[in-house]
Symmetry: D4
Subunit: 165 residues, 8 copies
């Protein structure tokens, strides 16, 4: 896993077995030229590093966190509890329940601690949501990203349109 | 429903019957001093206005959209399809299925069009997620919001702590 | 995908990856000699063309729309919002949840905007329902179709009967 | 329950306890001036009358059947098996499972025998779908209905719009 | 499918594609020397023969009916509506929903019309339940069957016990 | 709870809190003049008496057992494991999950040990299924019961028919 | 909430709104004379205190932890991640999904970090499981508890038996 | 299956087909040097041996029972009903429903009879929970186990950490 330099997005997952799902987030970030870092940060196996990761994230310059986890998927919610950054949660489907357990464990957060949840295995959308979040800013980079997103939507339409012909 | 001036957040819902759920988002935005507007924008009953709303949102200066809907809840996803802004979806529970239909209709978006989904009836968290999104920017306002969010988390801890005594 | 001439039925789907499911609708229409057209019309990737498609459908002479979609399946409901034609929705099962998300996203429409939903992957029945709809008219063609449907049911019985011997 | 004269739509239900849900279909038909009849026709308690009802429906001049049922809701599917008419099924929620059993029992029909299923307790939409079906014909009445449906959609938009002000 | 002579049990299914599941019922009946007949009787494709089959079943000497069906599985319930015999329903799993739709369509019968439902794909247990039903009689054959069932349970225990060693 | 004399049916439940649901079984048996006994027999709180009850049931002259239980509903299956009699299971809904846990715990029995499961809270149908089981015998009483059941079905049809007028 | 002295069991919950459910655990512990402490320890609102609580628990002499939480219920699993003590998780049902989200978030833990999960709202059983855990020891107190548990089971049987008379 | 000598843990399952899932419990026990025995004990096929096993377990020196079962999974709950020992239940997924039936049948126990339930197919965690239970005692062995568990958690963190590099 190759982190980019001066990352704006922290892309973390509970286990390296989540990577085949999560790499689609990395790819989306690359398409938009967003620098990011990739890490295994397990809520259950390295809880204290996980807390540290979350607490320091905004101090290190990260502006969005994408967290993937499966089953009793605590990572996105626990990070959201210790960072002021927006946390995007990706429910990773495990062997049973087709990701329904992952989805509910991530999305059903109590009032006060939001997680921006995407679809089961929806890592590409997590990456795109991170781009939209960065594009929601007021600086020049945000403006450029917003333009890129509008172009991206135009391309989606063209590609979809082409398939119907 | 009283919109604030020069809104940064567009708070929309498919029906005014969603307001008892959605007003918690408005309240969270007010707590953080975020200007916002409130509208009924129905994907199914006024689809063209809905498309227009979505297309013009970022041009009008909105930076985040919060959309609540129930049942076959198409509003958040349709808005996400026509705006480059981050769209936060709130699954509103209707009379049957306890919001499960709303949740799946909102969260299971196809690759390319993300919706940042919060919990069933989780409008307060939608508001807080909008705040985090605005706080992820690089300008001064973002920095102030980020500090407020850190304070907010400290207060959550204090309040929770107090209840245990 | 080969559309017939002067189509009565518009057969659309959110993605060409839905075709392996949806082609059974085309086949049913062909068995009854119903002219139809086939298109990829994505609610999420080409929302404005989708709205146009729906708005013009009855003006172009279409009398029934069959729409297949998966996951947060917004296509059938959005078309139903902009056309006075009956819209038949086919829940296409995607990789997770076995089509339950598709089913709920299609069937749980709000009052005012009906979608005639068939079973998960039930495209053949969507085609047959379109035939029944056309056969419910008062003209000669409808009468002929109705007779054909009665014959079709007799054949179903014979075929089922033969299997038991 | 007061049937209209020369009915075009047969509105049936498995039990008179379904009437509080099903009457919204009657009301929708009345709004569009569609003549209809109302009957209790139980698949489980009067199976032979049910078969007769279905077989004679199109001979008596009915052009659409709306059938509501709950639990192991067999009525819509059994009628669809013996009539060439389009059958619209309304899943009536009973005391347990919130209508999920009714929905699956109605929508998951085998290939060859379609039921046009609407949402749980979605009787109003069943009525509107019957209107759309009649409006899909080629005669003058159909054309008038189609115009009315377009007006109806305009009114939906106006009403929804008004709520946002 | 080879029916025995002077059958006591009618083993029916909605489609011959159910036979791979349903044959385990036949095998259980054979193990206990119960005569039975096998037929394809489809509620949806041959509804009138189905009604006839059910109405005549007890007159022809059948004493138990086993009916397997999948999806909107109407066969067991419809047979139960027209026969005074005990009807045992086997939910056959189809391609989607893992048999949950079949189970709910069979088990959730309204008061007045019971179906004795076994597990998803539980055809062997359907056969054994037919044996228990016949063994609940007061005649000599019933007594012999009851003794056989007690022996059968002893053998189950022995076989299970042997596996643990 | 008043047992009848020389009972043919054993009506048991895991807790006396199940009685409001289960009494409908008693009432159905009374309507058909079937003698029965009522007992609280808990699989979890009095497992050894439960085993004894099951083992002796057929020796005491019982010919059918009806067992109601909720949650992790083990009573019907455990009785089925120790008696050769047909056991009818009634899923009693508890405070959570609307009886889905009770249903799955009762119906999903392993091969070899069938339980005849009825609908959630379907105690009346459990009583009627016991009647059908006794009516499946070859003696005079069975013949009389069978005639009564045919009459009963005729009355159901009349009553349903009357409601439609 | 009144903690006992020199506690063996730590009874914690994510919010004081969980107390109406969780107090049944306290009552069970009191019945067996087990000393315990009660605290609000929120995984999401006071994550660092929560980690500290878990890490110090066995050092302070606690021997079992009971943790109740609802929705995306992270408390039991996070405590289990930082303590070597057995952690018993109680899924608290919130307003939606009837505790299914709480159950899956607690029980579906990854390999390496077990949580002993009881039924939805099953706090009394959580207390009794803590007693059984303490009774599984090798010291005199454990032996006395084990005897008490055997007596308790005898009383359960007597009470259940009495209800059947 | 090779039992160790002087077992502290009884590892049982309803069928030897459960062994591929359950062996992970055995492996976890071996890693911590816990003696255990392995047996097939079927609630449904050998109910009386099952009761005996449960009643004698603590008298034979067992201190924890691990029980795996699938479908209508009665084994863990029935053992819990007859032993004062902590019983750990492992929901074994069978061919349908992905273990949801197994999970609900095990976890939804009535008040008075707790089962410590782990995740679907979570046998490794069942073994680790047994270790934690033994480590909760007050004797020297418990202390050593507790230290081992702390080391084990440190190793989990190291292993997880290494994967991120």
């Amino acid at each position: 896993m190759s982190p980019s330099n001066t990352p704006l997005v922290g892309l973390v997952m509970g286990s390296d077995s989540d990577w085949p799902v999560m790499k689609a987030a990395a790819q989306a970030l690359e398409e938009f030229g967003i620098s990011f870092e990739v890490d295994v940060v397990s809520a259950h196996r390295m809880p204290e590093e996980m807390i540290s990761y979350g607490k320091q994230a905004h101090q290190r310059g990260l502006r969005v966190i994408i967290a993937g986890a499966g089953g009793a998927a605590h990572l996105p919610g626990m990070l959201a509890a210790v960072t002021p950054l927006p946390v995007i949660g990706v429910p990773v489907p495990l062997k049973h329940f087709d990701g329904m357990d992952s989805l509910l464990s991530i999305v059903q957060m109590p009032a006060g601690v939001p997680v921006a949840t995407v679809s089961v295995a929806g890592a590409r959308n997590a990456g795109l949501l991170a781009v939209r979040t960065l594009a929601a800013g007021s600086d020049e980079h945000a403006g450029l990203l917003r333009d890129k997103l509008v172009d991206f939507q135009t391309e989606l339409a063209s590609a979809a349109h082409a398939k119907g012909e």
